[in-house]
Amino acid sequence: MKARVFVTLKGGILDPQGKAIEGALKSLGIEGIESVRQGKIFDIDVATEDRRAASALLQSACEKLLANQIIENFAVELP
């Protein structure tokens, strides 16, 4: 099963990279952008077809490595 994991900065955590990207977009004249926050996406192939097992597996992967829960949230998306 192909899953997707999103890791994003928690609200209130300063994101200097997002700010720099936001500034660059504005300087390109792309109108209407209010703010940008940068995150990560992981496309992960899991061996099981069982959604509950896949979800538990990826939850554990996020907690153990993919996200630093002091500053990041994560979300798991299954097909």
Binding site: I13, L14, P16, Q17, A20, L65, N68, I70, I71
Partner: protein, 232 residues
Amino acid sequence: MNAAVLLFPGSNREQDAIRAIEQATGKKPWLIWHGERSLPSRTDLVVLPGGFSYGDYLRCGAIAARAPIMDSVREHASRGGLILGICNGFQILVEAGLLPGVLMRNVNLRFVCRMQHLRVERNDTPFTSHYAKEQVIKVAIAHGEGNFEAESGTLNQLEGEGRVAFRYCDASGALGGAANPNGSANDIAGIYSQNFRTLGLMPHPENLIDPLVGGTDGRGLFESLTSFAAAA
């Protein structure tokens, strides 16, 4: 003092750490590969050196923090052993949960590589007895992710327990403004664990041990450790 310097793929300051320890102790430290599962049994001090372990992939220090050797580093910590994490080593210690907080991208987005003054916050720890309290020392910094942040409760706890080891300052010891190179909360350059046996810091005291390269203000840290281990 018996010291073990850990080597991760992408560490690059391990020889500097080895040189500084050897100068202070007269004894060459062990160099331990990250894939090992145990530390030499008489290890007093574990050093996690600077560098770019795993190319800073995922988050700085994140992958190294899960290396096989880290379980024995945790055991060493729980026995009250000494641990020193410098730069990337500090990032590894916070990722491993051995120190609180997180090291974020420098607030101005620049990699900073320069000499930097630090204020020694206290001199009653295993790492700082050879300095004076509030002494200003000059060492090197070289990092892109050294902006120390923690939740306000954690910061208050660190401050309340006197666990800030070093703060960025100017030559006169004044804090704030341009003296803070990366935006770190409360100008924090290094912190202790609750038992003061683990120190993580972004600056490189191991590079300032020889007048030939610009100063010797880093020596005190290694001499302090040596005195502490000798007395223990």
